[in-house]
């Protein structure tokens, strides 16, 4: 049981001929303990992932669903108008087919942008504050108002989750980044522009006012 010796070792009675022996035992000990840490780490990662995967999925699902609601409806509206034109008129105005193409393009950009942002989420506040502590910069407060309301705005106050990564779309911002459904971060036109264009087409074609009201509602919801 040579390892017992290494625990008892006080550093006082060293004979040169024992030095290599103790060094080796020490190395062996350190190696084994490092291995234990690594094994623990691997076990921990597996369990951590298992615990949070469904939670993450549910969160992402709701965010994804919210982000495509308006563009999906607009696509349906324009497609219906196109069908109506094909059945009722000798020709379909190019403005209609053109708008449909632009809507599809916007949809593709939105999906791409969502994918890109979710591949590389920004570190959370808690990650940053840990690092700052390591650098000896002093504690970053994760909550600035003690629950009593904050004058800096709703995305200043963090909830207790370590996994705060950011909202997607017109949700109340409670996390640290926004998915780019903000029109100017997606290449091409904004949803508002497309909705306005659709309203113009409905007016030009003399279609029911109710449709314009519905488009107006969609526009207000995305502002």
């Amino acid at each position: 049981m040579s390892w017992v010796k290494s625990v008892q070792y006080s550093g006082e009675d060293v004979f040169d001929e024992d030095a290599d022996d103790i060094n080796l035992q020490d190395k062996e000990w350190k190696y084994n303990m490092k291995k234990r840490v690594k094994d623990g780490y691997v076990d921990g990662i597996d369990h951590g992932k298992e615990a949070s995967l469904q939670l993450g999925f549910n969160m992402g699902y709701r965010e994804g669903a919210a982000s495509t609601m308006a563009i999906g409806q607009l696509k349906g509206i324009i497609s219906a108008i196109q069908c109506w034109c094909q059945l009722q008129r000798p020709d379909t105005p190019t403005s209609v087919t053109d708008l449909l193409q632009r809507v599809v393009k916007h949809e593709d950009s939105l999906m791409e942008a969502m994918k890109t942002v979710l591949e590389n989420p920004v570190p959370s506040v808690s990650d940053v504050s840990e690092n700052m502590e390591d650098l000896g910069v002093g504690e970053v407060e994760s909550s600035c108002c003690g629950g009593g309301g904050c004058s800096k705005g709703s995305d200043c106050c963090r909830k207790d989750s370590d996994m705060d990564i950011g909202p997607i779309l017109p949700q109340k911002p409670r996390l640290s980044f926004t998915l780019p459904t903000d029109p100017f971060t997606i290449t091409g036109e904004s949803l508002e522009q497309l909705l306005q264009c659709c309203m113009d087409i409905v007016s030009e074609l003399g279609l029911p006012q109710e449709l314009i009201r519905h488009l107006q509602q969609l526009k207000s919801a995305t502002e």
Binding site: G40, Y41, D43, G48, N58, A66, G72, L87
Partner: protein, 141 residues
């Protein structure tokens, strides 16, 4: 002497355990982070696609309802009835809720109703993205 060597054993075993546990919690934090990121990515993709499809049917239905609203002939009334049925189905369907237990089932009902609407309207159903059962069969992990 025996007592002292028991302490030594404890010391070693505890050290072994302690290192494992240290590594475990560090790994757990990292795993939790990775799981959230991966889960969120997949969830967002599923949610976005499903919502896109359902919202498309809704927009389509709402528009045709507006267009046919003032017609009083039998054909229009029959079409309006089916359109109202489609819109009603969608309104009651919590498609943005990933844990909804009848998600797939209700989705199939909505799709079937949409096909019925298109058939009544004599609209070619070449919205091939949506008419086929798009996406994977199961939504939840």
């Amino acid at each position: 002497m025996a007592h002292k060597s028991e302490d030594l054993f404890d010391c070693i075993l505890m050290a072994d355990d302690r290192f494992h546990v240290e590594g475990y919690w560090e790994g757990f934090d990292e795993g939790t982070r990775q799981g959230m990121v991966d889960g969120r990515k997949h969830g967002a993709s599923h949610g976005a696609k499903l919502s896109m499809e359902v919202s498309f049917y809704y927009g389509f239905g709402i528009t045709w309802k507006c267009l046919l609203q003032n017609n009083t002939d039998m054909k229009a009334r029959k079409r309006l009835k089916v359109l109202e049925s489609l819109l009603g189905l969608i309104q009651k369907f919590p498609h943005e809720e990933p844990q909804y237990e009848h998600l797939q089932e209700d989705m199939e009902k909505v799709r079937a109703k949409f096909r019925q609407v298109c058939s009544l309207l004599n609209v070619p159903t070449d919205f091939s993205d949506y008419v086929k059962s798009g996406g994977s069969g199961g939504i939840s992990f």
